[in-house]
């Protein structure tokens, strides 16, 4: 096992049954602030890596598939198959190849973002009006200029909507990595389950939900900054 977590010792407060039964026991949180901060940081780090890696893979894939409608079905189908594989199974299948490190947690989470991201990238690019494309061609923009200056900016609201959904689900799914000994806030939930200390479960769950909400709000603000012309209509991804 990787030495991901700083030691849970010392526990300064006596672990009375009445205290471990409490859903919120402040002294435990105070004593273990270091562990909690570390787990939260790992969670943030892995989420950012997974979503950014997902974008790096799905942007070229989405642009490519949108230009060739015939490939769209197989691309989305493949992403759908990856999306269907349960996270615990994916982590378990990867451990012999990538070890018990962060890579094992990041690869499945990246794969899960692909379906949402590619679908939204294609939706966004499809939504670029034909007149705008024709105007760009008439102005003599090359294919790549048209993509970077016109199509991607106009597709930004849809792409950002996908990033928001992908980020929130990645944060939730990352807690499962703790079942195979990988880091993040799921570690706190595991501690709470195994010791058992209910407060640890509460802290892990609450921080995970709070992180998801904060990340969603930050991305919504970013979305508005990136595309100030778009009224804040979110694109359906269900």
């Amino acid at each position: 096992m990787t030495p991901l977590q700083p030691s849970l010792q010392p526990i300064l407060h006596p672990m009375l049954a009445s205290n471990t039964e409490r859903w919120l026991w402040w002294p435990w949180i105070g004593d273990n602030a270091g562990v909690i901060r570390h787990d939260l940081w790992v969670h943030i780090e892995l989420t950012v890596i997974a979503v950014v890696a997902g974008l790096i893979v799905s942007l070229p894939l989405g642009i490519w598939a949108q230009r060739r409608p015939r490939t769209l079905g197989p691309v989305l189908g493949g992403a759908g198959v990856l999306y269907t594989i349960p996270a615990l199974a994916a982590f378990a299948l990867l451990i012999p190849y990538t070890g018990s490190g962060n890579l094992t947690a990041v690869i499945p989470l990246t794969a899960y973002t692909l379906l949402i991201l590619v679908r939204n990238i294609v939706t966004g690019l499809d939504g670029v009006p034909d007149e705008a494309l024709e105007a760009a061609d008439a102005m003599g923009l090359t294919r790549s200029q048209r993509l970077w200056r016109l199509e991607l900016p106009l597709a930004t609201p849809a792409i950002m909507a996908g990033v928001r959904v992908a980020t929130v689900s990645t944060i939730g799914m990352l807690t499962i990595a703790a079942l195979v000994g990988l880091g993040g806030l799921g570690h706190l939930i595991m501690v709470g389950l195994n010791r058992p200390i209910r407060t640890a479960v509460t802290v892990g769950a609450v921080l995970s939900v709070a992180f998801a909400v904060v990340a969603d709000i930050c991305l919504a603000v970013l979305q508005r900054k990136l595309s100030p012309w778009a009224n804040n209509r979110s694109v359906s991804t269900a």
Binding site: P86, A89, I95, V168, T175
Partner: protein, 256 residues
């Protein structure tokens, strides 16, 4: 090299009859897994779909129905399971397995079904409803005979999402002491590197089960889609593009 040895170990594990039969065998775990997932899914469909569909017909509470699935995504399923075990314990109940898994799976499966059912019904075009009302259909008939058939593909899509999520979460439920195919992963992992064949085999079985669920639901979704709404298959489009024959629907209409 390592890949070859793992495949060897897994194939040996999977070919051992003892791993298939008995109360801890693959068949028993598979039926537990299917039972847990199906019971929760059926409960959500029975409890949520009728109310949601009616609300969609009245176009009420849309903000809640749409946002509930966004909120549901943020809640970690593992946390729900752990909290559920602590609150409800692990008593075995016939049919549904155990209370806490049942409730946790319902909480997780409900949002996507609710959102899709509401949107599916509420997005039936106004002129279609008005035509139905103009023909003298009662409100219930409008819902039952017009809106529901049109909304069924989307409702089924929600059930499909929920089914895959339920199967995945039922896997994690093994960590808190429930049955199901996840047991192979969790128990094998607890035993250490020597039991890795069990972990790997379990993971393959879980993945296959999830893919089968997705496949069956996709098939059902296609079956419940009214023929007129079905997307033509790629082959049909290709055939239409290649052939010089005019669209066959036009002469039919003229003949009528």
């Amino acid at each position: 090299m390592i890949i070859a040895s793992i495949i060897d170990e897994v194939s040996v594990w999977l070919r051992t009859p003892d791993n298939w039969w008995g109360p801890r065998g693959i068949f028993a775990r598979l039926s537990e897994h299917a039972q847990m997932s199906f019971a929760a899914l059926a409960a959500v469909i029975v409890l949520c779909v009728p109310i949601t569909v009616w609300l969609g017909h009245r176009r009420r509470w849309g903000v809640l129905a749409i946002n509930v699935s966004n909120a549901g995504r943020a809640i970690p399923s593992f946390a729900i399971l752990v909290v559920g075990t602590q609150l409800f314990g692990l008593q075995d109940v016939p049919v549904i397995g155990s209370w806490f898994v049942f409730i946790a799976l319902i909480v997780l499966a409900a949002p996507s079904i609710v959102t899709n059912a509401w949107v599916g019904v509420a997005e039936v075009p106004d002129d279609v409803r008005d035509a139905a009302r103009g023909m003298g259909l009662t409100e219930f008939q409008v819902l039952w005979r017009i809106e529901l058939p049109l909304a069924l593909p989307l409702i089924m899509g929600g059930i499909r999402t929920a089914a895959v999520l339920t199967v995945a979460t039922a896997t994690i439920a093994a960590q808190v002491g429930s049955g199901g195919l996840g047991r192979f992963i969790v128990e094998g992992f607890a035993l250490g590197p020597d039991a890795y064949d069990e972990v790997f085999s379990g993971a393959i079985l879980v993945a296959l089960f999830a893919l089968a669920t997705e496949g069956i639901c996709a098939l059902l979704q296609r079956l419940v889609t009214p023929v007129a709404l079905r997307q033509p298959s790629r082959r049909a489009i290709d055939a239409a593009e290649k052939s010089d024959a005019p669209d066959t629907t036009v002469p039919t209409l003229q003949a009528a």
